[in-house]
């Protein structure tokens, strides 16, 4: 499971937050809340291992994530603000190549099925450039399905999603957590998934 112990974060030379403790066990999800600029994204980046905390540490299954290294990164999927999609590649190519980069290329059939599930049939081969913002976010939902990971760290995943897609994502998170997965989510709105803990910054 994921543990954050006495985390502190500094931006520039100014402290953003300190003394943040959190724990996420299998089958749980965490909602990180706070005003704009409170440091939600910074906290998520600490949990993902992109930055090093000014104080405290993040542990995965008892081991500090710096030591866990590739094993942690294999179990974790991070989706940040930016889409992490290449505009000139198609949705299919994006997901396949991203998977290959992670050392686990998904079967094309699985990717197509995932894209279909999120309402993108007929658009799998178009360059992502021509998709709408909402459709681009749906491609990322498909990536959540095809890239097997125990822990999902999602930064504002509900941005730019219409009501239907919000439902799809909530169902996805609920399903993931129900099967014993974990998730850490930031969102300004309430997240319509049952059984979440909360951390306020």
């Amino acid at each position: 499971m994921l543990r954050g112990i006495d985390l502190a974060c500094v931006r520039g030379e100014r402290p953003l937050f300190r003394g943040v403790d959190l724990a996420v066990d299998a089958g749980e999800w965490l909602h990180v809340r706070g005003a704009n600029g409170a440091g939600k994204t910074s906290l998520l980046r600490l949990l993902a291992g992109l930055s090093v905390p000014a104080a405290g540490e993040v542990r995965w299954n008892g081991e500090p994530i710096a030591a866990a290294g590739a094993a942690y990164r294999r179990d974790m999927l991070f989706l940040g603000h930016q889409g992490a999609l290449k505009d000139e590649l198609s949705a299919l190519e994006n997901i396949e190549l991203a998977g290959a980069l992670d050392g686990a290329p998904p079967a094309p059939a699985d990717v197509i099925a995932a894209l279909r599930r999120f309402g993108l049939q007929g658009r799998e081969d178009l360059p992502v450039r021509v998709l709408s913002a909402g459709q681009k976010r749906r491609v990322l939902l498909a990536r959540l399905l095809t890239r097997k990971a125990k822990l999902w760290v999602l930064d504002e995943p509900f941005n730019a999603l219409d009501a239907k897609a919000v439902d799809m994502l909530s169902a996805l998170i609920a399903g993931h957590v129900g099967e014993g997965g974990m998730a850490v989510v930031t969102s300004h709105q309430a997240v319509p998934v049952a059984g979440g803990k909360a951390v306020d910054l």
Binding site: L50, F78, Q82, A84, L89, D102
Partner: protein, 218 residues
């Protein structure tokens, strides 16, 4: 690692204009020198190695910023840092892709441009071989600079300031090889030194680049 190369090559194919711009720059710069200096063949033969190498340096530098900037802007660089695949390997892949797209065309084009300077066939061979060994070094060392200046104000010019001093040994040995050949001394020494530089950069620069990337994305 091959996935990275595959992805970058696909992107390069679909964004042809960027690739071609650097190539055209190489051709134009190399052609400017005779216009500035005079058409006398003996003089041109003498300055050819230096001119072509400097033009190759500058053309490579034009393409350096692109190495990580696009990935940084759309979030795929972040994903690369979070991938279970070692970052050094992914960086090596990016460097290879960059060389295939920016460096190799220069190598292939150089003999043609060398003809403009009235270099003989053997000199052209030495020049091309030198560029073949040297342009990967330029991509590798340049990637350190590109990673350090990622997202920084004044990136392009700053990148040049950082990277050009580090390019000097490659320039000296590469151009020197052709000059040594012209002087009848044989280019072997210079080319071996270029090879040594290549081996050193292949082993050490990905680590510097990964360190710089991690710092840039903190």
């Amino acid at each position: 690692m091959l996935a990275v190369v595959h992805r970058d090559l696909l992107l390069a194919i679909r964004r042809k204009t960027e690739v071609l711009t650097a190539l055209l720059f190489f051709i134009i710069v190399a052609s400017l020198f005779p216009l500035g200096i005079g058409p006398e063949p003996a003089l041109l033969r003498k300055i050819a190695p230096g001119v072509l190498w400097v033009a190759a340096l500058l053309a490579t530098m034009l393409g350096l910023q692109r190495m990580f900037a696009a990935d940084h802007a759309d979030g795929t660089l972040e994903q690369m840092l979070l991938s279970p695949t070692p970052l050094a390997l992914l960086v090596a892949g990016k460097n290879l892709a960059h060389w295939l797209v920016c460096g190799l065309p220069l190598v292939l084009l150089a003999p043609l441009l060398g003809l403009q300077f009235d270099l003989d066939a053997q000199a052209l061979g030495v020049l091309t071989l030198g560029l073949l060994l040297g342009t990967p070094v330029l991509s590798l060392i340049g990637s350190i600079g590109a990673a350090l200046t990622l997202g920084v104000r004044g990136g392009g010019v700053l990148l040049s300031l950082l990277v050009l001093p580090l390019y000097i040994p490659t320039l000296i040995f590469g151009a020197g090889a052709v000059q040594a050949h012209a002087a009848g001394q044989g280019a072997g020494g210079h080319l071996s030194l270029l090879g040594a530089l290549l081996v050193l950069s292949v082993f050490f620069s990905p680590f510097a680049t990964t360190a710089a990337l991690r710092i840039a994305l903190e």
